[in-house]
């Protein structure tokens, strides 16, 4: 079979998925890439393996929702969506895998597809058509025609690539970068730099193929991946004086590219969010800045107070915000880093150098920038941390003074200091079979809250979150012993439990999520304590969750006052 078919790529992905060990995976990918001849095939293949149907800087999306795909699959297989597709999806935990297996297994479906060995370019044409088609039924028609020409294996990866997400084969962009470096005998750092600069794995691969990686230079309006922070718990800090502290804002990370009157904003996942924030665009475009790229945070700011992230959410994703929305939730872009100034990238400069330039820029053009504080002791950190919380912020960021801007990486140059947002007493409802090292034990748990006296529900308990950790090995063992006794029913790897065991759950935040039974989800839930001492009557209720959510919204927030989180000389 020719190398440039989509089926060959799908087979490679499957092989990578079932192979353990990063080097072995990279080796498979190198063998594959070496066999591709045309530049276009190299570009598409590497892009599909790491980015998706479209390059992440293209700004394009196929915009095909889960339901569009799932209902089409049910129709294709002539099965009932609610009754047959949904439980199948629940059993595998993956809609694309479910669709692959249904297309393989169900005779009615088998009769409809025939492998036509589409090329990578033909697949690209299908993605492009999906991009320019907006109606759901037309998108479904395009998908249907495509699936008829593919094997179920191809369909699985087609769906994953279409989603612009991970292929879930344990081989992310980093692996593809390594494979590109190996295939074309280039230095991995050079490849990675070119990828960040071009914003495209496919383009990088072609540059590498032609020995032209040095042509990759930073361009305005192509976002570069953000530098990320590690939790301070995971890193021992020996000398606090090597770091500078800033408050960690209760807002949304953003990269602003400004050139003359043109301003573009990019979110942390490098999506284009310019249309949602005309007030920020106006703010920057009126300032006559030199060519500038800023890293910072968008916050709702009113009456000299930073308002909760939940209010900012009302502006996120709104493409044409109304006058009322703009005046109800006014936002500010608070800058903390300068990545590019007047034609010169600054990633390789130290934080001190970048900061100095940023301060000059902020002074000249009146831009809000973070307050930076020196730290001498843990006590200093404690005081600043409390002040940050009083401002309504999440905690502190510690940044190493001598660090470069490590785009796309999460290392220890930036550390975040956060306080868990809250805890709930929950009851264990389901146990899920072991992940990884904990194979053979039940290590993941669905926890519930009480709705016993809640007229909106018939159940006694409903799920509020799933927790994977926070317990010791000894506690896990003890829980597993109890679980055996309280199992009511077994669903493959999942056990339905008699509600009995009370767990104090710690989490970062409560968010509204209409798709769940409780209509709320917890961010980063994990075990705090197993409450062997508590009984079902002690389990917190949905009303408690609703109350906590409201309280968080209306928490008193200190005005910026005399020790502000940021400086803005207007």
């Amino acid at each position: 079979m020719p190398m440039n078919t989509f089926h060959t790529l799908a087979q490679l992905a499957q092989k990578i998925s079932s192979t353990r060990g990063n080097n072995a995976k990279i080796k498979l990918c190198v063998e594959y890439l070496s066999g591709l001849e045309s530049d276009r095939d190299v570009e598409l293949a590497t892009q599909y393996l790491s980015e998706g149907a479209f390059s992440s800087v293209s700004g394009k999306k196929a915009s095909v929702g889960y339901r569009t795909i799932a209902t089409l699959a049910a129709e294709f297989c002539e099965i009932d969506y609610e009754l047959v597709f949904k439980p199948s999806r629940t059993a595998t935990g993956s809609s694309s895998e479910t669709i692959q297996r249904l297309l393989e297994n169900i005779p009615e479906a088998r009769a409809k597809w025939k492998a036509e060995h589409l090329t990578l370019e033909e697949i690209n044409d299908i993605f492009e058509s999906l991009y320019i088609t907006s109606k759901r039924d037309l998108k479904q028609q395009l998908l249907l025609n495509a699936w008829k020409k593919m094997t179920p294996l191809e369909v699985k990866y087609f769906i994953r690539i279409l989603g612009q997400g991970s292929l879930r084969i344990g081989f992310e962009t980093k692996g593809v970068e390594s494979a590109i470096a190996k295939t074309f005998e280039k230095n991995l750092e050079t490849v990675r730099y070119a990828r960040m600069i071009t914003g495209s794995v496919g383009k990088t691969a072609v540059l590498a193929k032609h020995n032209c990686l040095n042509e990759a230079t930073f361009k305005m309006f192509s976002p570069i991946s953000f530098m990320l922070a590690s939790p301070i718990e995971s890193r021992a800090v020996s000398d606090l004086s090597e770091y500078i502290a800033e408050e960690k804002f209760d807002g949304m990370r953003c990269q602003a590219h400004i050139s003359g009157g043109k301003v573009e904003l990019f979110s942390r996942d490098l999506n284009h969010i310019t249309p949602s924030f005309p007030d920020i665009i106006e703010f920057f475009s009126s300032r006559d800045l030199p060519d500038t790229v800023l890293d910072g945070e968008i916050c709702v700011f009113k009456d000299d107070t930073i308002l909760p992230f939940q209010l900012l959410q009302k502006r996120m994703g709104v493409k044409k915000p109304s006058e009322k929305l703009l005046s109800d939730y006014p936002v500010l872009f608070i800058t903390y880093d300068l990545l590019f100034l007047d034609g010169v990238p600054l990633f390789d400069d130290s934080l001190i150098v970048r900061r100095k330039k940023l301060e000059e820029l902020a002074n000249t053009y009146s831009i809000p920038i973070t307050s930076q504080m020196e730290l001498e002791s843990k006590d200093d950190m404690e005081d600043l941390f409390k002040r940050a919380l009083a401002h309504g912020n999440e905690g502190l960021m510690l940044k190493r003074k001598d660090s470069n801007y490590e785009y796309g990486q999460r290392k220890k140059s930036w550390l975040k200091v956060k306080k868990p947002s809250g805890s709930l007493d929950t009851v264990m409802l389901y146990a899920h079979a072991g992940s990884g090292k904990r194979g053979g034990t039940y290590s993941d748990f669905t926890l519930g809250i009480s709705v016993k006296e809640d007229e909106r529900y018939e159940e006694e308990f409903i799920p509020i979150g799933k927790a994977y950790g926070g317990y010791s090995d000894k506690e896990l063992k003890k829980m597993n012993a109890l679980i055996k006794e309280i199992t009511l029913e077994r669903f493959g790897p999942t056990l339905l439990l008699k509600p009995q065991l009370v767990i104090e759950l710690e989490f970062e935040d409560i968010q509204i999520n209409k798709r769940t039974k409780a209509k709320f989800t917890l961010r980063f839930p994990r075990f705090k304590t197993i409450r062997w001492d508590l009984s079902l009557n002690d389990v917190d209720t949905l009303k408690d969750v609703e109350r906590m959510y409201k309280e968080k919204l209306s928490e008193e927030r200190e005005r910026q006052g005399k020790n502000p989180s940021f400086v803005f000389k207007n």
């Binding site: 059993a91 993956s94 479910t98 297996r101 297994n105 053979g440 009511l488």
Partner: protein, 328 residues
């Protein structure tokens, strides 16, 4: 028709006939054990039960303290108001379906079963007389489950073992101690390579040999000498030091659940071998269509409605035997 009552996790009771099927309660007079897996053996260890000769041996070896009266396949037992005959279920060695005939009608209780049968079993056979009520497990009751052929699976098993050995790795198959472990050994014996099996499974292998299923060149697991052998163990033992002395090893997870790709990362294994000792969804529907019982009772599944939906389309009446209460 015969009344059927599910007694929670304690099996099934036919109250009028005082027959218990994998039943642990006190309301039966005649107890039948379908096979020697823990979830089917009576919890009350003092009961007197009927079972096939291999199942009787396994039960004793696994600590059952009561009396087991051996009942051969196809040899009916008469009680005051029923006739009970055991038929091979194809799940593990000795596994039986229990066929109950009475004036109230007939019931076939499958226990766990597989058709086509698993290789190291007495096969799969249905009663010739008509079946009024068919109580079937439906562990893999979704159309995502369709097993590969025995040839394909055997090839995958052979290939995993020989490739690992060739590349200097010790292959480890994780499988349940009784049934799956011996089935693997039965398939692997063609390779003529020494096998070591975890102690709990080892003590059960003799029963297979006794009943005519040679399992090849095997011995009990020994930490000092296991490197380079083919190893078989329940996955729980991997967490408690099994073969921890061996640096270069590869692990294959052998179970029907291995059909789900997520198992690979969940369990951190090198290979998923979806070999099941239950029948798949399509085999289940086909079998019901072939038997055409007056009523199909479904148990052991989170998705009874899926099976019922397909049976409805075939005009076959069905119900779900929930944890408690009478089937209705």
């Amino acid at each position: 028709m015969v009344r059927i009552r599910k007694a929670g996790h304690h099996g099934i009771l036919l109250p009028e006939l005082k027959i218990g099927l994998d039943y642990s309660g006190s309301k039966a007079e005649h107890y039948f054990v379908s096979h020697a897996h823990a979830d089917h053996m009576p919890r009350n260890r003092k009961l007197t039960v009927y079972a096939t000769p291999p199942t009787a041996r396994f039960m004793k070896l696994r600590g059952f303290g009561g009396e087991v009266i051996e009942l051969e396949f196809g040899k009916p037992l008469e009680t005051e108001n029923a006739r009970i005959t055991l038929y091979p279920a194809g799940h593990i060695l000795g596994s039986a379906m229990t066929f109950v005939e009475s004036e109230l009608g007939s019931v076939l209780y499958t226990g766990d079963y597989r058709t086509p049968p698993a290789p190291a079993t007495e096969g799969f056979q249905l009663p010739e007389n008509s079946i009024d009520q068919f109580i079937t497990e439906a562990t893999f009751s979704l159309p995502i489950y369709k097993w590969k052929s025995e040839e394909e699976l055997s090839a995958q098993i052979h290939n995993f073992a020989s490739t690992s050995l060739k590349e200097g790795y010790t292959p480890i198959f994780t499988a349940y101690n009784l049934g799956k472990a011996q089935e693997l050994m039965y398939i692997l014996k063609e390779l003529n390579h020494p096998i070591q099996i975890h102690g709990a499974g080892f003590k059960l292998c003799g029963v297979y040999e006794e009943f005519g299923f040679p399992l090849g060149d095997y011995e009990t697991y020994n930490r000092e000498t296991c490197e380079g052998k083919i190893l078989i163990t329940p996955s729980s033992a991997l967490g408690t030091g099994f073969a921890s002395s061996v640096k270069k090893k590869r692990i294959a997870y052998c179970s029907g659940w291995a059909a789900n790709e997520s198992r690979q990362t969940q369990l951190t294994v090198d290979e998923l071998i979806p070999i099941s000792d239950h029948l798949d969804f399509f085999e289940l529907i086909d079998l019901c269509e072939k038997i055409q019982p007056k009523k199909v009772w479904i148990t052991h599944t989170p998705n009874p409605k899926v099976v019922q939906y397909y049976l409805d389309q075939l005009g076959i009446t069905s119900g779900f035997l929930d944890l408690e209460g009478d089937g209705q």
